[in-house]
């Protein structure tokens, strides 16, 4: 392409510009690579895992890492590497499902609150504020406790706990949008409020929503690991990083490798989601350039 052609080319679309911005952010790209690797590990776990994650063995109880078992074996002789790979399923599922659910609960309520105003807004806003007043993990533990110990219930508990952030985000954007000239014009043309919400406000919310969702996934993964660590998430013998750390704690002196690898996995995946979230924020919102 010659220089003259480049000059007359139409301006870059916002999407492409954001994409270019994102890929200039080296750490964010690193985060994306790590996230992709973990997603691949979760999806192709049966192909990647060297052993069956549930296969116990009396002769292999708590063996140190070796050529046959890279990450060692656990208290039931199960391969730790296989369990870490399969554990990615519980963690990523919990993170993605819980946050999707949280957004599906939070965004419509937030839009409703922001656009309707009055009592609806007061009530929704107050409930969201009240929920945000309880520290995240405490609320999630309480909800999971009352719902009963199971991975599905842990996800639901995390989703409910994470939803007020999305309510607040959507409400703020809706309020901001409501007072713009174009919203005024759309209303004057006779658009009903729901159309205003879906066609005019929602697309504007998508960039900050993506950023928030990515950062929320990081938080949700830690929350799932914490709940599973407490026995409120994934139930044994199914592998999950949190519950692996729970049993590892009892064998710290004899089998430290059991405690190291699941933790490294949580750390890496959470770090990666945080990096992608930061990268997305810088790429999508030119106002929030942090540096």
């Amino acid at each position: 392409m010659s220089a003259t052609q480049a000059r007359v080319a139409p301006p870059e679309s916002p999407f492409r510009r954001a994409l270019r911005q994102f890929f200039r952010h080296r750490l964010a790209v690193f985060g994306l690579v790590v996230v992709t690797a973990f997603v691949a590990a979760a999806v192709f776990a049966p192909l990647l895992a060297p052993y069956d994650p549930l296969q116990t063995s009396w002769t292999l109880v708590r063996k140190a890492p070796s050529a046959a078992h890279w990450f060692g074996t656990d208290e039931n002789g199960r391969d730790v590497l296989a369990r870490v790979i399969y554990g990615a399923r519980a963690s990523l599922m919990a993170g993605v499902v819980a946050v999707t659910l949280a957004a599906l609960i939070g965004v419509p309520l937030g839009l409703l609150a922001g656009l309707s105003g009055g009592w609806t807004e007061t009530i929704i806003g107050r409930v969201a504020d009240a929920m945000l007043a309880v520290p995240f993990l405490i609320l999630a533990i309480a909800l999971a406790a009352f719902l009963g110990p199971a991975l599905e219930n842990a996800m639901l508990a995390i989703a409910i706990t994470a939803s007020p952030v999305f309510v607040r985000l959507a409400r703020g954007m809706a309020l901001e949008a409501k007072n713009t000239d174009w919203a005024e014009a759309a209303r004057a043309l006779g658009n009903p409020p729901w159309r205003l919400a879906l066609v005019h406000v929602l697309p504007n919310i998508i960039p900050p929503l993506m950023v928030q969702a990515t950062l929320s996934i990081a938080e949700a993964i830690i929350a799932e690991a914490s709940l599973s660590f407490l026995g409120l998430g994934q139930q044994p013998p199914s592998p999950s990083w949190g519950s692996m750390l729970n049993s590892a704690q009892r064998f710290l002196t004899q089998a430290p490798w059991m405690a190291i690898y699941p933790g490294v996995a949580i750390f890496l995946v959470v770090l990666a989601f945080n990096l992608v979230g930061d990268g997305l924020r810088d790429a999508l919102d030119p106002r929030s350039q942090r540096r």
Binding site: R126, V127, D129, A130, M131, A133, V134, P135, F136, L137, I138, L139, I141, A142, L143, A144, A145, F146, L147, G148, A218, I222, A225, S226, F229, L230, G231, L232, L245, A248, Q249, L252, T253, P256, A259, I260, P262, G263, I266, F267, V270, L271, N274, L275, D278, R291
Partner: protein
Amino acid sequence: MAVWLLRRIGQIIPTLLILSVLIFALQQLMPGDPALILAGEERGDPQVLAQIRAELFLDRPLPEQYVRWLWRALQGDLGFSWRIREPVAVLILQKLPVTLQLGGMAFVIACCIGVPLGVLSAVYKGRWPDVLVNAVALAGISTPNFWLGIMLILLVSVNLGWLPPSGYVPLFEDPWQSLKTTIMPAFVLGNAISAVLMRHTRAAMLNALSQDYVRTARAKGLGERVVVLKHALRNALVPVVTLGAIELGRLLAGAVLTEQIFTIPGFGKLIVDAVFNRDYPVVQGVVMVVAVITVLLALLADVIYLLVNPRLRHA
């Protein structure tokens, strides 16, 4: 200012009321009949079940149950533990000092790490110390607290044998031993918010360093150290302190897992044990108390902000 304070307190009341409704509603999520759990061996006896239901007002309509529950909670009566048959309020009061000691130490540690690193990062903005500090903060945020605790036990207690891996000695019984049992969990807990404090400090310092009074101080020929530490940092600390007060609520949440790992008999251990024993009144009580503390801390933060910032006092 008095008017502002009253209005601010007025805002808290609906928040707390809604919270109480939500926490009361938790009960309804519970699978099964609480009377059945409480009756234990006698669960086949309809008379016992009826008696339990009558005593706990479980046979009344929900709104009435809620009002009774709230009325008693307002008087400091959070019900009784199903497991240990003791008032929930007493249990919480017993455990709270332990967690407060832990939280206090954690907060001091977090400030000692977060504030200097934040200043460093702001002063060297964009250069390698800033990049390094930001990387450390990001790693800190991404590390699951309980895993950090396990790794520290592995390193410090198992391999080096310097500190006991678990247990707790009350502060007034043996201060030295108490310090030895709490310093590791306090560090773990502090680590979680030191990264947040660092980011707040960095932002506040960057703001302060761009102000006119800093330029004036520099123009007067003051040394960079005086400018940074005396002029900029003093002003930057205002938002940091207020945001720090809000972070204390996060400490309470972090304490849940940290106390579990280091077997410290505090607030967090109380809620976890209660969860396992299906001791629901204790779970509700702990959540309510934590929520009230968090809301009050946010209020405190606003008041401090107002007190240390004279420009806002008459606004």
